[in-house]
Symmetry: C2
Subunit: 469 residues, 2 copies
């Protein structure tokens, strides 16, 4: 029942509460008898009783059987340490409205398989409710973990047992489990530049953190070795934001580093690996690891949608017993219904079809972008073989921030690589370099938007084409 | 593309990889020219090129334009610190199969509104995909927070701004945010007995923790005051597991305790408050707080389903700016689709109808249970006015564990209150006391199961009825 003040019994209850609070009734004072009060108010004694019972339930009044209702021990007036001040909410600034956003944390949602998803939802809701709604496995439902095991075996070369898979609500939430598991007294390292999010997760946990520079092959293992770090977070499939794919030598160097000490671990964030536009996928770092050194993380953020909040990790076998101890009192945070839908989505082959469709779709966008860029002077694409973003290096003597502002004037949002490098003052590129997340721009607009972006930055067409401008 | 080894190019790629690994090709050795190899193998030069490009992508080989493909710097053989051992998974013990489970962490899923939920899912998936799938608000979607604000105003007497609401994937996940927010260097206190989960969350965070005893009115504030704790977690609506509803005096005492020092806070876990079977709901502790001292938590675990993993908290205004700083780099963990469905479920009035339906349904079960119990000797119900469990006190000189084992022999699962009291050796009751979570037993079975439970424990019918036994 809501707190409706319109019923007679609630009015009566409120009146007595006020009288008690205002000391019109004192401790152990008897309330009017139910029958007498009912008669005088011309209401039912049951209504009076309901009001009295509510006062009893909340502790204002106590009842003595066959005697009546009495006021309880006086309630202290709340002591205020500071006078109650009105805290008003800050009006948030009106955000600048962009027409087009080159963002790395969104995807193309136009091809999302809504009809299939709705159909699978209906099917899941028609299943045994107890299993769908009541039963929680801390690691996530087994059938989905089995599908994921098969998927990463075929597409990422990872051979594991479903018991090593742990579902979570996104990469950050899994990182929190990993921090619980490995401990906050360890010394961690991350790539620099990297997602700012990863940096802030470690910072919020107040752990020791080293930032390791990159070269053409990704994270510099020598620098990692000279740091005191024993756990490193890397993105070997498609480094964020540089787009570097870590070659096999560097992968082995990294594994060798991990193998040198018992307590060293590698956290492999394979966030973008599904979208590789040439050749076969490159096996995950985890698949090269024979010493239980790699914790592998991936999410459905890029393949399905950022708002899905579904991710998984593969734990080394030797961490499993510690994990299971930790997880006993923590349920899985991913809703069961969503997990069962995802299971059907993978099991029915919809997921593979969806990824293939999206890969082709993104490839088409990328082809248009490459074609546009090839017509312009002084601009070069870096790291476009994989993932949903690339770097646009602009070989001109101009400040990155100026270019970003020029794009903004044309209502196009774009970031520069130095945005991800606020952490230490390290030079990533000699030239201004933009981070172009192209997934969110509709395919029918991509040519026009790329042209508008390049023109906004006063980048000129190549000479052979000047006749056309 | 999967790692299929059936295509010719993948076979070729695998062969070269093996030869390089086995030193049949050394550093800077040139691979056969594409055309020659293609001719000798009678395959297309494009197939050879695909294999070579894959080797390049993975770093085994490098290409020199107009010259050919060469083997990269030798890859170190992985050093193994310990010989690779086979870690086998422990076969988990076959669990004992109960026919009926009196559990406190499940609900009655038979009345779950599947058809409505499937319909709303379809509607949500037909909406603007960008907003549904791409955009993440760290606090949860505003429209849902507005619905929750209205709901807790009407049903819990809580007057707040939607900006104070934070969505999370269950109570535990919100507790982690709270720990980040208030800090792990604070001294916390919890009720004893309590959910073991809460105890373990604090323990895993390695914070200082005091266990505070209960009396008939709930948490003993004097004991809290003499502890060094400055933050306390309480369940005033329906203490778990004792079922005590904290009366107004104790609530005010607790608020006064919090008001005495700037850094004191109360975490109010309102987990069971929707199910109160008599009178109006008792206003939340939060609604009495005028000093920004209460963090209020509630979930949809009991009202919708445990596996929904959707919860919310109300933050005091003075903690908002610190929270917003923390949340910038942490997306909301609840999937957007589920949040939009929940918004429609609340906005359309389905949620209120569902709760009312469930309340009536549980009330009916409880009435049957009360009737059964009233026929038996020496057994008394405690804390049954609210929630989905009550205590069954058995006024006989017998060990709780013996009773639980007797029930187990009849394939009925039930726990005793001392299970929740493993933490310190404190006497909760003079008699064996069972914690009866009745939500999960189907209504058509409840009479029979209660009778079987009581008989299994050799509890006898009252004398006046012996004629019937």
């Amino acid at each position: 029942m809501p707190f409706t003040k319109n019923t007679i019994y609630m009015k009566l209850y409120e009146q007595f509460k006020t009288m008690i609070n205002e000391n019109k009734y004192l401790e152990h004072d008897k309330l009017p008898s139910k029958r007498k009060l009912a008669a005088s108010l011309k209401i039912s004694p049951l209504t009076v009783q309901a009001a009295y019972e509510q006062l009893v339930a909340e502790g204002y009044v106590y009842a003595i059987e066959k005697s009546g209702y009495y006021v309880s021990k006086k309630v202290d007036v709340i002591q205020q340490i500071t006078p109650k001040k009105k805290i008003s909410f800050e009006e948030s600034e009106k955000p600048f409205i962009y027409e087009y956003e080159f963002k790395t944390n969104i995807i193309d949602t136009n091809l999302f398989p809504s009809a299939t998803w709705a159909k699978l939802t209906r099917e899941v809701l028609a299943e045994n409710h107890h299993e769908t709604l009541n039963v929680i496995d801390p690691q996530g439902i087994l059938k989905l973990r089995e599908e994921i095991t098969r998927y990463i075996e075929v597409y990422r070369g990872i051979h594991v047992d479903p018991n090593q898979i742990v579902m979570g609500s996104g990469g950050s939430q899994l990182m929190h489990i990993i921090l619980d598991l490995l401990g906050r007294k360890q010394h961690y390292a991350i790539e620099n530049p990297n997602y700012l999010k990863i940096y802030h997760i470690f910072k919020a946990s107040e752990v020791k953190l080293s930032l390791i520079s990159l070269d053409q092959s990704g994270l510099i293992v020598d620098q990692l070795s000279s740091s005191q770090a024993n756990i490193v977070h890397v993105t070997p499939s498609h480094q964020f934001p540089t787009g570097v794919v870590m070659p096999i030598q560097r992968r082995n160097e990294l594994l060798n580093w991990a193998n040198q000490k018992e307590d060293r671990y590698i956290i492999e964030d394979d966030y973008d690996s599904e979208f590789r536009y040439q050749g076969s996928p490159i096996p995950a770092l985890q698949s090269l690891d024979s010493n239980d050194k790699v914790i592998y993380i991936n999410t459905f953020t890029k393949t399905l949608a950022p708002s899905f909040r579904m991710a998984y990790m593969v734990l080394p076998k030797k961490l499993l017993s510690k994990y299971q101890l930790l997880s006993t009192y923590q349920g899985c945070t991913v809703p069961n219904i969503e997990q069962w839908i995802m299971y059907r989505f993978m099991h029915g082959g919809f997921f593979e079809r969806h990824i293939n469709r999206m890969r082709n779709h993104y490839k088409k966008k990328l082809d248009i972008i490459s074609e546009v860029i090839s017509n312009y002077k002084d601009v070069f694409m870096i790291g476009e073989e994989a993932g949903l973003h690339f770097l646009l290096e602009i070989r001109r003597d101009i400040d990155e921030k100026v270019l970003i502002e020029q794009a903004r004037q044309m209502k196009i949002e774009v970031t520069g690589i130095h945005h991800y490098n606020q952490l230490v003052n390290q030079k990533i590129s000699n030239y201004p370099t933009l981070v172009i997340g192209y997934a969110g721009i509709p395919i029918e607009d991509i040519r026009f938007v790329m042209e508008r972006l390049l023109s906004s930055m006063t980048i000129h067409l190549k000479d052979k084409q000047t006749g056309n401008t």
